[in-house]
Symmetry: D3
């Protein structure tokens, strides 16, 4: 995939109008107020490692549903560490317990299972279902369009709330120094990172930073229009079959654009983007970066696709985190 | 797609062992006994046609959930006609009201909306959701694997029950001659046709015939092993990510194989199969045909893929129906 | 296929220069004057339907060649009805007799077999050959380039004349109300619809409307330049092998552009277009719409490919027709 | 494309039953007797070469139609040379005049234009049309299926007759030593080579040898069943759309199988075949080789696809020819 | 990719004849005797982790060339640990320093850079060149065919020697318990694992175990014949262009088949294989497993492709290692 | 591939800034001064042709390495002829001796083997290795990126020097008229043609003309950014894996851009370009044409891909050469 999108000089200034519901803040305030307390159980897991301790967490997500997560810390940790809450890409689960790079670098690393996902990559420990009455709504296969008929029933309302709850839980955790809490993730995980950072102020959480990579769900309508890749294309698929739903779909999505969340984020942001990314086109990512309200920086990978910077970006993140 | 599967001479005798739960009959008896009465509402729909009358039906499917269907009859019909209950392919909805070939030929044609599907083809009138707590189970996108962790929670338990309920409803309908009731459909619709025919005796419904085309979900394990096409491949995708679920998955599916249903069907069967079908390989279809207990015939399309005989087969069906 | 073409705002105003032969009108006048009378035979066909009567028509097309068509009417019709003449897409035949949506809605529906085509879709009743000495001219496979060495020998000269003859035949048919005659079709059928409407005034036929969907053969040169999809790409294939023919090819095609026909059409036009259509790019369709001389409207399907609006558009057409 | 077909040890003994019309010999005798005399015009062509002289030939093919060909000889030739008649692959023309490898090696090289083809490769000098009333018969694009409704009207009846006529013309040419006349070609050209060699005895031509490479149209029905590649797949495409034509199609083709011609060929044969050829599968080629009645040898390219041995095989042919 | 290869029951007994040079043992004895001593430099690397220490190693590989490797150990390690030498897949480098799962589990983990590779995946620290005069031999791109004209010059002679040298170095390392040294790797790394295990006895190294996943370069000729995937297909590509080299190529490869090495391996072996692997077909892997001389076990992933068991297999390996 | 690049009107004026090292001329002067004398051996080859004599040449290329080439002349030539030095496309070898179109037209035709290439097309006589210590540098498979870490070690430094040496050798050859010496080639051969023409003045060679077709390696950075096709994409692949090398790579390539060489070429240039070429995009070719300093003309193939004008362009070249 060559550099098919806007040239970099335009991307740096690209601030298209993104449809945002006038009720955006109200919608999220009501959503987060519904069951504000997060509770969790935590069980030590035999992770077959000698350098990392892992806890198997089940916390209360949207609607109080049980959501799985990992907490990884350097072996023997019993005092607060800086923390990283990590969210996963579309299709993935919380993964295997030995994938714990931030913990290996000395952080308390929380990893969230995405409800109803986990069908890609090794998944012996995931399996969080989306036990919600709208999870079986008709539409193209995959969570992307489930319940898209209204903001209240849309899948990402539930997933973002899960993400916010885990952030809240981490912020209050005995092994976390709340003044050095970060959120991170790639693709859908990048979107949840931006959403969590955007909601943090209203939850009175002061994040030390957010690290969204090749973030999904930003400048959504443009994404649906210019790429054939899933998951954006699933919205197009829905509207192919049911064109009468178009206004309704955009109205729903006007409560979910990553650009809207970015415009409410105040912590430092460390983004990455790939100029040949066919899944999360750079012209959908840059508007979120450009809207970000905190200090910010962005790593640009001119030749990469949706894999983005991969381990190179992780390497840079470890440096960025260490400086904070 | 060339003729990649077993040669026709072997297909005609192909009767592989298909895993069938010893509790198969008990499972279905319990399932169908759970909420045995079917009720429905029926509203005339302005279908923009002069030769066909259409009724918009909402009937009680599995768990009493509301399921949409059409009833099409020749305009002005008010006395009983022979009936055809038609089930749809994976991804489809009940479609637009002017797709009513059996009604155009003088039948009372019922068309079921498949819950949670309808993302392909024009769908202004579908949208039946799968409002069940297991509809959001983790797994590869699409209903194929939803709830596959147990026979009780598996998606096709609900869909087959819906299909049986609509057959029951049709059998008692004022515009249907119950001695001339048929079931029909292609691909997933062919599977539901076989399942409905296999369950009919236990529901004390005497069908006049069943017409399954290029039927899906027969000889399931072989299907999962030899084709890369969806939906069979979704089971492989699940087991790639979660290999520890393999026994559990086959145990679940041992309650759902079309071959098991075919072995319980006693009405006349008029099958079709395509020898170059990469989605429902002929070596998965023939075992169902070979197991069928009633009179039977099969049309073989040597060069076609999953489109099967298409309108040619419809043409032949109209002849076959007229002879019954 | 994403929205790869011009943005909608530009499409609405897109009126590129289209090469039109100065002899355009003379060429078509001479062509249509050559054998102006159309005659036909009509045999009732056992169509296996109870609500529709079908007649098997053989009419005299270009050069007096025998061309097949259907006439479908509501069963028992013996007085004039509004009529629809339907033309088919590239590769198709007149199809099976139960595909008769306009007849089901109360119209006298004529369906033309495209000479030399019919290799896609069920075709038990088609098979009209292109018995013309230029049908075997060298060139990429398919009628698109046959005889393209001159306007006189080009395939579409014959096909358009066939289309005009069937329109003439329908206009004088005993079961048709000539004041309510429509032409319709998708893709190549959309092109023939536009061509028939453009030629109607010179044939002294006053059409009540034309309904071209995702029309082919408009803004031809642009189509050849911007899409890799057949049939447009076949012209590029010819010019790859025989670049010395380029001027000759464009000269021939300057007698055939749908935009030229649209500029001569005066009846009401009801178009549809898909913004992600890779076969008939929206920027080739809009110039025809923009050139249309009669009242007009266009349905835009932003996310669909060449399937266009499909049954949704049919549904809308039934409403549009009923209002006329 | 890996070695997907039968293993070599089986191929060497593979002699499947090939359907052959009982009237095979009568059909070809009648065909060749229809207009037995071949006449031609010959014009020197400025070929821009200093080492080769080229003549532009127009000879009378099937039905007396004008067919183009080249004659290339070493510059200044005016006494008889050994001759090679070369036939081209499906889609090709006689090509540009500087493609004359046999002439460069000292042979009188005739190259036939395939009527109705020539859409691939540089073609400034081809353009032979198939001016026959059946050339526009309905069917999948391309000559492969044109007129396939009967042996009399089938395209290859005409093309094979053209090939035989050019062989006859070459055999009597002033610059050819008739005791050293060869036929050659690849793919469709290999088929025509086999056909010409098979017909030569009945035309009282004693060929010095035949060199068919990766020959097409042998063991035809197997080819249609096991490969998805054009041109074999076009027969499958026809039968997908028009399954009622199946018996008729096989009856027609029972007059055209390369295996039948090979069984009548008595001159030395020098074949080549590629074991990974997806277009002319080795299991369709070997039966023709195995049926060949003259001395024979075959070069096997285990890893090549339809390109076969390419220039390596040409190199070997030049050695083989020199030894004869 | 479905299960396209032999059925599992046959795979378990599959022991095809694999061409092995009569000089196999002599060839490797001479190769390893050439520069038997391995020396290395070791520099601590700032790896941005708190739980792992990393050393940047440069050791003397084949011909004394400098080869890069990592040594990862739990932070602060200064007494011997059990060791794992890990080899990488075709195209990869030693990777980023935080990919150290065996070290995280308490092992001294060595990771070799594959000379001349490293073009896939994040590679900030690799870049070992193949500084050998035969590295630029003509042939299809990639190391697979470089120098394949003779066993002496073939690329894998150098790479296997590098692998053996690193194993020797690890066996004598101050942080390694030589009685608990393992070798491991996937794909090409699986091949090097088998090769190292096969050579270990002659180097007087007693390995505690070998863990080859989806191993490449076993039953090589079959691999070249049945798959189209790189790297096996590169041998076919070479022989397509240069068919005269065939005997020479197989002679060279008769010194390199993984099955030959497996037949000389005496340590415990823990294999994995995927039944839908198109790159290293299961029928090429099983012969190596079946030939293995030590205790052995194999994990079978029926639905996976070349990714094999992925992290699931790593999880199982950590258990297997802990039991030894 | 449609016309995806800039419109022709812009291409004709397209003169983007191309990064050129300030040391460009110094670098090449030093390179060519290193071993300025070219020497060669020449053996007559039995080429199996009667009209052409072929000599098997081994000449001293970069670093004095032995490089293979052909010399083809009309049979019996022993006095000077105009000469053409032909360079080959990426992946090819000098080919088989009967591919000698310029010799057939009366020229002394030299054909260079590209070191380390020759993996595509029939290659019984090639096999020139790239015996250089940097030939095995790490990087994506293929010569494109070998040694790209510096201008001194980059593959194309060696290949261009080879090309210049053969041009020097030809210019002094006993069978060549030095006042009528041409260089020619397509794709990579087109690039070498431009490079040879650009270096000729500094080597005091006065070329009579250069004929670059669909030239590679012009406007390199743009090529890497806009196409996914090899070989340009290999640079992107390298930078995906090793983004830290980006500046270094562009610095290296600033010594190699075809546009820089074109700006130094003073002989007549006869270019060709294809507007749908996905491998050497027209917007990379035109800047070289636009920079050319001598008389010039360009043939434009609007519909062709990387095959360009093929034999049609050869035909035109023979005319162009004859006029000079």
């Amino acid at each position: 995939m060559a550099q098919y999108d806007l040239p970099l000089s335009q991307l740096r200034e690209f601030r298209p109008n993104v449809q945002e519901s006038p009720d955006f803040d109200g919608f999220w305030a009501r959503t987060l107020a519904a069951d504000p307390a997060v509770s969790a159980t935590e069980e030590p897991l035999e992770n077959r490692l000698s350098t990392i301790d892992t806890y198997d967490i089940t916390f209360t997500g949207f609607g109080g549903a049980p959501i799985k997560a990992w907490l990884h810390v350097p072996a023997g940790t019993n005092t607060p560490l800086p923390g990283v809450v990590r969210y996963g890409g579309y299709s993935g689960s919380r993964g295997m317990p030995f994938n714990a790079k931030y913990a290996a670098a000395g952080y308390a690393e929380f990893v969230m299972d995405s409800r109803g996902q986990g069908w890609w990559g090794s998944n012996l420990f995931g399996g969080t279902a989306d036990h919600h009455t709208d999870a079986g709504a008709f539409g193209p296969p995959g969570p992307m369009t489930k319940g898209i008929g209204s903001a209240e029933t849309y899948y990402y309302r539930r997933l973002i709330t899960d993400a916010a709850r885990l952030m809240q839980y981490a912020a209050g955790h005995r092994l976390v120094d709340p003044s050095r809490l970060f959120v991170a993730g790639g693709s859908q995980g990048g979107y949840l990172t931006i959403a969590a950072a955007g909601l943090a102020p209203s939850l009175r959480i002061e994040l030390a930073g957010a690290m969204p990579d090749v973030a999904f769900m930003c400048t959504i309508r443009r994404g649906v229009e210019i790429t054939d890749n899933q998951p954006f294309s699933l919205v197009a698929d829905l509207l192919k079959a049911a064109p009468h739903m178009e206004d309704q779909v955009w109205e729903t999505l006007s409560h979910f654009d990553g650009v809207s969340f970015a415009g409410r984020a105040t912590c430092p942001g460390y983004f990455s983007v790939a100029l040949a990314d066919p899944t999360c086109p750079p012209s959908t990512v840059f508007p979120a970066y450009n809207a970000w309200q905190g200090d910010k920086d962005i790593e640009i990978y001119p030749y990469n696709g949706h894999e983005g910077g991969g381990d190179v970006q992780t390497w840079k993140q470890l440096g960025w985190l260490a400086d904070r």
